[in-house]
Structures are given as C-alpha cells and as structure tokens.
Symmetry: C2
Subunit: 180 residues, 2 copies
Amino acid sequence: MIGKEQYEAAVDRAVNMMADAGIVITPEERTRFEVADFGLNELEKTGLEVLTDVNTDRVCAKEIVMFPRQTCPEHWHPTKGTKLGKEDTFRCRWGTVYLYVPGKATQNPGALPPKGSEAHYTVMHEISMRPVEQYTLLPDTKRWFQSGGEGAIVSEFSTRSTDDEDMFSDPRIKRASEVT
Amino acid sequence: MIGKEQYEAAVDRAVNMMADAGIVITPEERTRFEVADFGLNELEKTGLEVLTDVNTDRVCAKEIVMFPRQTCPEHWHPTKGTKLGKEDTFRCRWGTVYLYVPGKATQNPGALPPKGSEAHYTVMHEISMRPVEQYTLLPDTKRWFQSGGEGAIVSEFSTRSTDDEDMFSDPRIKRASEVT
C-alpha cells in the first residue's frame, strides 16, 4: 500500500533521475507512472518505478527506474499451455543493475536480497549490467534484480506485459499497486 | 551500393548524433551499425542508419538515426497466411519525424517524397512526431517517413524484424545493403 504523498514523491524522484540521464517523457506519461511496492510496504528496499511506453497484444516497452539499492523481487513469467510466457530484454541505460538468474551462485555478488526476505530469493547467478549492456530472459526464468548505489534506469523490451500473471517466490507479494 | 568510406562516414555521423542526444551504445554495437541506402545510391536523400539492440523470435528493438531530410521509402510488413506481419511502434527520441500512413492526405505536409521518386509514394496522411511522441503501426500498413531539418533519432519497438520480407512501393529498391 502506497500513500498518495509517497507515490507523488517517488514519481518526482524517478522523473528527475530520468531527466538527469537525458531520458525525456511526456506530461501525459508522467501521470501514468507506476510505483510498485509489491505490497511489502518498504518501497525504498523493495519496489520499482515503471513507465510503460507501449503495450500492445504483441510488444511492450517500459522504462524502469530504480532508486539506490532498490530490489525487484524474484519472479517469473509463466507459460500457460501453448501460450508462451513473457520474454524480456533488459537494457541498462544508466547506473548499475545486478540481475540474478538460475545458474552457479556468484561468489562475492554485487547485491544481496533484502534483509528479512532472504528465504524468497533462490537464484544467485549474477549478470552485472552497466550502460548499455543488455540481457534477454526467456519465459519461465526466475529472476530478481537490484540497482547499485546510484540507482539505475533500465529499458525493457518484451512481449505483451500482463503483470497480473507474474509469479513471485515470496507469497506475501501483491503485484498490483494500491495507492491510497 | 555503399562504398566502405561512405559507410564509415555515415556510421560516424550517426553515432555522433546519438551521443549528442545522450544515447549511448557499446563499441560492439558500433561495429554492426547498418547503413541502408535501399539500393538507390542516394543515401543523403533516401536511407537510414540503424542499430538493432535486440531481435529475437518474438521481440525487436532498434535505434534509427536519420540525417536531415533523409527519407525511409514507402514500405509495409506483409502478413503471410496465418503469420502476422511485423508490428512497429516508433518513439521519437530527438528531432522531428514526419510519418505518412493511409488516410486523408495532409494539407501543407511537413515533408515531400524525394524528387524523382514521387510515383512510389502513395500514402499522404501525416503523423508529425517530436520527442517523445510515438505511434504504433499494425502489419500490412503502408508507411514512409522523413526527418526534419535537424535529422531525427527514433526508437523502434516491434515484433521480430525480418527486413528481407519487407515490401516496397518502389520496385527499384533492394532492402539488403551492399557495402563494397
């Protein structure tokens, strides 16, 4: 649950970070910035600020802003029957992102799961991304990511986004934001 | 046909325009910049400079650089049987782009077809795009576009790109670049 004041402050901060990185958005887009705290009520630690540029039946593009050391919790995009799950490509535009995927656990990783939530983080193979490195994630792949100490801005190119179908490792998580 | 020197000069110019607009690319990406003159041998008038960020079976993202008043000639992405043609979203990042699509011809348009090629330009309804306006084109939709006097940079989000399947109104056009 996010209060209206917290929502506005988060959007201001995200839009300012984008402006500093030279990424322009329209006034209309500003009004539909999403601030997601995943229902955990600890936005600074676990959350994302997201602008969806376009989301059609076939293609989606988003700009994701992460405050310093903010974490997107572990999740995946499930295939359902013959309908393939969402495929994502992340392209780091600014800052540093530590992305974790299945594979051998990385020694001395750049990020650690948020304190108190470690049990819900299971994939520990690190892909470290600086501008403008990118990485493509196939459907059904568990992943979580955290920004470095400056925060980060990431462009996401994907198939249609249906956030409400996302599966999370942490059963406490609610994907839909509740702004009150 | 593009000479190697012309290719290198065009890439330099495109990469510099991106840098001025704050859009970073990797050294590896620089080496695979595409310069397309569509076989017309008049790159300044008819051509595109294109970097493909990613192109999987499902999703493609490109950065398109246009020199001042450069035109991408009229074309469309055909549906073949049950396989839908490519769907594109253009997002203007820098400069001005005049996009033409089917519909009522725009009076006093911002751009005119390249001289000598007018016969191969048939859609004249203008969508004028400044940063960061965007427009989604469905498959099978004829379109052409030209940058304004400063040039333009456009991000394209789309389904899989298969340039060799593009259909052009001008029968002289060859989509594949020949760099000699």
